[in-house]
Amino acid sequence: MRRGSIVQLVLFALVASAAGVLLALLPNWLPKSASDEAGRIDFVFWFVTGICVFIFAIVAAVLAYSVLKFRAKPDDDSDGPPIHGHTGLEITWTAVPAVLVTSIAVVSAIVLAKDDAAGANPLRVDVTAQQFFWSYTYPGYGNKKSNVLRLPLDRSVVLRMTAKDVIHSFWVPEFRQKQDLVPGIHPTLHITPNKLGTYPVICTELCGLGHALMRSRVVVMEPQAFEQWATKKGP
């Protein structure tokens, strides 16, 4: 390979990575982050995005370069050079992706372990889904019931979930956490809200006619306000 073509190829790769970086940074890819878990999940998201932009840039550069440079002339019936393989290259493109995906797996496993652990003094809430609404029960507050999920700021929450009829799924995009609610089992989900506000609770598992409208809200409150609400009678 000539030096000139290497320079051109590198230029192509730089342009492709610049395009990839712009695509990653310009749109608002993720909603507001409102929990400790969301911060960690976003880190994995951008870590993977970095690796993907790198791979995409290589592929796009080689493809674009080949398309422009190796076009056969209309009357050229000759064959290309009979290259059958290159052991060094083949080892490289086996080993490098292996290292990259291993790093993604390690980062993901660490984040997953952190997101799955409850903090000190967690608040337990029982979440029940049925066609087509959500209900929340607070066992620590005399089984207080609510149709809106109210959570205190900066306190670890353990949601214990189940469904009455079919499978539903609990998702708050701002918390980045999601869990299916399945009849007969009680999986848990951990959330540590860290921003005040009201966010949507969305059902993401097709559950029948009213699936699209099976929504509820989560309200993150100051801890004192939450205590006041939780110890008060009525909703």
Binding site: R71, P82, I83, L89, P97, I167
Partner: protein, 654 residues
């Protein structure tokens, strides 16, 4: 093709003149025509079998004292979805040979009366010629592709604005469920089977598939499955509406349309399994002399691995759908917690098929891409052995990743990290394939014909689909984007940008071989660019609205996503319209295209060394394979010697 008069009936004459006409004897006249295999016989045998099915149901219910004795859903299930189709198959003659054999009537093992196509009518009967069956497959699958595509247009029409426009919720859920089921079971999987049916025996130097009559039967199961899924729109309660994944317990409690899905999958699955067995036996036993495994074209390798996947995995989806149906009609409790059932059991069984199914829908495309890219770049495929081995690696790893569809399902939490690791490992053999294709075009003499555009379009789009797969493989990200439009974007980059692009590459690449005519190159390129642009405009923004918070499978959505959805809907209509260019090109080229040469691409594989279209029995003489199928640019190299007693033709010398 031989003359059109006078069927050859004596076996002796057939052996003496193998190139003579082998068409079926002309149908008898009068009432006997009703007994002659064909649609006429099917027209009375299907209702007869339906009646027998109804009789069995009524008799059993009367005997057991179950009321009502005439129970609609069971009648439909046994009569219309099981017995009726069997009657149809018996009527068109799919079982004739075996039935004669079973009752001891004389049969001729060398009976070629059902072989080959001499008029258009031969495409509408049970035909044992793998080339005819390949065309039957392709025509049928393109029909269901159009039907499923129109359903997608209806889905996008509804989603153009927030709120409800055209459909109620149940109909909407039916639209996307049937769209996905038809695309998967009636288009992508069988379209690849159809292309392979035509090409694989030719590539192997074989006169046909190993079991031609089984091959014919497996084709005729397909229209049954497709009509079953489509007709579910007509039954009370509407089409099956629990998604193509049909998660229990929702699917157990849906209206009657669900059993049309449960049974449609059985017919399509049986078709797949039979074809896969046929491919395996053909590839193992019918390779031409000298065609060792390591001289097989990569398309054959791809179909070998795909067939192993089909044979091992497909029984699992059959089981999952039977269980759902039994829960429904026989009151078993496989997935009903009240009766001690386990809803997640459904997902484990379903995905144990349906993840390997992703590779069933992708590996044949890898094979097509390898053929097209090597030929059009005029270079040997880079790293042939590693290409074949990575197919095998994907086959093995593909069975160890199913639960990555279930990271948020509530399954045992410890299972997530091992499944994430195996999932991410699949990126390695897949990466090897992508990099090897890039290395193949490097320094090539690239001919940007339509098949090559589709193949390169596939490589670029599949890379995006593969990279978004890494996001989904990483558990923390998957927890956020699972069941959102990000997943919808990902599967369309894989199944549209991957499978469909390679199906188009294959159709254009082998069109001259199949029809004996050349397609219109300008229209082919127009079709590619319209589809490529429309595809990206439609599906790329779905990544964004997914990560931002739009769940999938909803008929209504939050107003913040309105602009993007309108944009996507408009783009999708353009994408749909691009198909018109394809159809116009296919139809006009088939009728009036300029006659194709035997080897317009100057390829080395065996299917190009015979005439276009190939003779009825493919090769006048069995070819002798002497080398690799990709020796472009190697002076004096040959893949095979045909007609060994004559001087090699110009093509072979090249």
């Amino acid at each position: 093709m031989g003359d059109k008069e006078g069927p050859v009936t004596a076996a002796v004459e057939q052996h003496a003149a193998p190139a003579a006409r082998h068409g079926p004897p002309p149908p008898p006249g009068g009432w006997r025509r009703l007994l002659y295999p064909g649609f006429l016989r099917a027209a009375w045998m299907a209702p007869l079998f339906f009646g027998i099915g109804c009789g069995i149901v009524v008799l059993c219910r009367w005997w057991g004292g179950w009321h009502p004795i005439w129970f609609g859903e069971i009648i439909v299930l046994v009569g219309a979805l099981i017995a009726g189709p069997i009657g149809f198959l018996a009527g068109i003659g799919a079982f004739d040979y075996w039935a004669r054999y079973a009752i001891g009537a004389p049969t001729r093992p060398e009976d070629h009366s059902g072989h080959g196509a001499y008029s258009w009518r031969d495409y509408f009967r049970v035909n044992t010629d793998h080339k005819v069956i390949g065309m039957q497959y392709l025509a049928t699958t393109i029909f269901f592709f159009l039907a499923a595509g129109l359903l997608a247009m209806l889905v996008r029409a509804e989603l153009a604005k927030p709120g409800m426009q055209f459909f109620d919720n149940q109909t909407y859920n039916g639209l996307f469920s049937v769209h996905a089921s038809l695309m998967i079971f009636l288009f992508v999987i069988p379209a690849f089977a159809g292309l392979a049916n035509f090409v694989v025996p030719l590539m192997l130097g074989a006169p046909d598939m190993a079991f031609p009559r089984l091959n014919a039967l497996s084709y005729w199961l397909l229209p049954i499955a497709g009509i079953m899924m489509l007709s579910s729109f007509l039954v009370p309660g509407g089409a099956f509406a629990a998604g193509w994944t049909g998660y229990a317990p929702l699917s157990v409690h849906q209206p009657m349309g669900t059993i049309f899905f449960n049974m449609g999958v059985q017919w399509a699955g049986a078709s797949s399994i039979m074809t896969a067995l046929n491919f395996l036996v053909t590839i193992i036993t019918m390779r031409a002399p000298g065609m060792t495994f390591w001289r097989m074209p990569l398309l054959v390798w791809a179909n070998f691995t795909t067939s192993l996947l089909v044979v091992i995995a497909t029984p699992f989806i059959a089981g999952s759908q039977f269980f759902v149906m039994f829960d429904r009609v026989m009151h078993t409790h496989f997935f009903d917690t009240a009766g001690g059932g386990y809803p997640l059991g459904y997902q484990h069984i379903f995905w144990f098929y349906s993840h390997p199914a992703v590779y069933i829908m992708m590996l044949p495309g890898f094979g097509i891409a390898s053929e097209v890219i090597s030929t059009m770049s005029r270079k040997p495929i880079f790293g042939y052995r590693l290409m074949a081995l990575s197919l095998m690696a994907i086959l093995v790893l593909g069975f160890s990743v199913w639960a990555h569809h279930m990271f948020v399902s509530g399954m045992a939490p410890w299972l997530r990290v091992p499944m994430m690791v195996t999932t991410l490992l699949i990126a390695i053999p897949t990466g090897i394939k992508v990099f090897s294709w890039l290395a193949t075009i490097w320094e090539g003499k690239i001919n940007f014909s339509t098949p090559m555009l589709w193949a390169l379009g596939f490589v670029s789009m599949f890379v995006i689909g593969g990279l978004s797969g890494i996001y989904l493989g990483a558990v923390p990200i998957d927890i956020h984007v699972s069941d959102t439009y990000f997943v919808v974007a990902h599967i369309h980059y894989v199944l549209f940008g991957g499978s469909l692009f390679t199906i188009f590459a294959g159709i254009y690449y082998w069109f001259p071989k199949m029809t004996g005519r050349q397609y219109d190159e300008r229209l082919g390129k127009l079709h590619f660019w319209l589809t490529f642009i429309g595809f990206n405009l439609t599906f790329f923004p779905m990544h964004l609205i997914g990560t931002q918070g739009m769940p999938r499978r909803v008929s209504d959505y939050a107003p913040q996503f309105a602009n993007w959805n309108l944009f996507i809907s408009i783009a999708s209509f353009g994408l749909g319209a691009s198909t018109i260019v394809f159809l116009y090109n296919m139809v006009t080229s088939m009728r009036r295209g300029k006659p194709a040469e035997a080897n317009p691409w100057r390829a080395l594989t065996l299917e190009w060394q015979v005439s276009s279209p190939p003779p009825v029995f493919n090769f006048d003489e069995i070819p002798q394979v002497v080398g690799s199928p990709y020796e472009y640019g190697v002076p004096g190299a040959k893949h095979a010697v045909l007609n060994g007693d004559r001087a090699p033709t110009e093509v072979e010398v090249r």
